[in-house]
């Protein structure tokens, strides 16, 4: 498999920093132990392994574990038709890793979104502002310790938020025979 060969190439270059490639349902994942090396790894992946397209950057909040964050890079090689995923753990104390904007320019808005929603900073990003919420919003809403209903904020003359009434929710769907059973309802682990 071509993507596996490319992953082995990256593994050979960086040695112990990179885990063995893991294959799951035809998709190859690598884990980078040191998040501060992400720029070098991505630069090598683009220029030597042919991953010329950055599909997405996402982040995971493993709340209660250490390290808390994981940042996931989805790469694609358009000319070879390969896909590769690079995951790197990041501690909450640090919460900062190098920007890969110098490798793929499309990383600009992806990194801004992660900064906005999760509060992870990207060193070397030229314009690290919030992208969805407004400047001055004090929370990072996709963190696990942020309530679904939101928290009240007030910036006079700029914006305000209030917690949404959840009415016992969240309302979730479940498999069922008919539309009545499948309908979104309050579903706690007990019922």
């Amino acid at each position: 498999m071509a993507a596996l060969a490319s992953a082995q190439k990256i593994k050979a270059k960086f040695g112990d920093l990179i885990s063995e490639p893991v294959e799951f349902r035809g998709e190859i994942s690598l884990t980078l132990a040191d998040a501060q090396q992400i720029f070098e790894v991505c630069s090598f992946a683009k220029h030597q392994a042919g991953f010329d397209y950055l599909v997405d950057i996402t982040s995971i909040d493993n709340y209660g574990e250490d390290p808390r964050w994981a940042v996931v890079y989805h790469l694609r090689s358009v000319k070879n038709g390969e896909e590769l995923r690079i995951t790197t753990p990041l501690s909450e104390e640090k919460s900062e890793l190098p920007s890969v904007l110098g490798v793929w320019r499309t990383a600009n808005w992806h990194e801004r979104e992660i900064y906005d929603m999760m509060g992870i900073r990207f060193a070397g990003h030229p314009d690290l502002r919030r992208i969805l919420m407004w400047e001055g919003y004090p929370y990072y809403p996709l963190r696990k310790d942020f309530p679904l209903a939101g928290k009240p904020t007030d910036l006079p003359g700029l914006a305000f938020t209030r917690p949404a009434p959840l009415e016992g929710g969240p309302f979730v769907t479940a498999p069922g025979r008919d539309a009545i059973e499948r309908e979104p309802r309050v579903r706690t682990p007990e019922n």
């Binding site: 969805l132 919420m133 309530p147 209903a149 939101g150 003359g157 914006a159 209030r162 917690p163 949404a164």
Partner: protein, 177 residues
């Protein structure tokens, strides 16, 4: 054949005259020329476009003049999800509209926040602007928008124009202060 009678209304002498009150005439003008401000924020705006198109044809009610400047609009149709980030903009647009003005909250999101019980979504546009008509639906059918417009027209027809003015009250001596 007799063309003239000694009694009743003669259009040749009196012209095409209809007698009414000034209030009723002005309300009639107002009600049939409601210029909407299309505040299209989400999928409801697609249905709002259908209302303007030929099948449903909002111009039958005199409201085909969609104004993208709030200064020329009478009725703001809030069509879609209002986020907290958008809320100050919406309030500002409403404040820029000249009096008299009306607001239609179109669809579940604009009325109550709809399915977005979330940190990012304003739970009903009536938190920041006064709403005259709420339309249910997600999104509502175009007929529902036309129904809301007719309800707005009925409301406008009942609102006095001249008799509420201060100058009239002063002339007739009924001003309180």
């Amino acid at each position: 054949m007799q063309t003239k009678s000694e009694f009743g209304y003669d259009s040749k002498i009196e012209g095409d005259v209809v007698i009414t009150t000034v209030d009723a005439a002005l309300s009639w003008f107002r009600a049939n020329s409601v210029w909407p401000m299309p505040m299209g924020l989400a999928c409801c705006a697609i249905e709002l476009m259908a209302v303007g198109a030929s099948r449903f044809d909002i111009s039958r009610f005199g409201s085909e003049v969609m104004r993208f400047s709030p200064r020329q609009a009478d009725c703001m149709i809030v069509a879609g999800t209002v986020t907290y980030k958008m809320a100050p903009v919406l309030k500002r647009v409403y404040d820029q509209m000249p009096e008299p003005k009306w607001v239609i909250a179109m669809g579940a999101c604009a009325s109550t926040g709809g399915m977005y019980r979330s940190y990012a979504v304003l739970q009903g546009v009536d938190n920041i602007v006064p709403v005259d008509i709420y339309i249910s639906g997600c999104p509502p059918r175009p007929e529902a928008v036309l129904d809301a417009l007719i309800k707005i027209q009925n409301k406008i027809s009942k609102q006095p124009v001249i008799s509420k003015m201060n100058i009239v009250n002063q002339l007739t001596g009924s001003a309180k202060s």
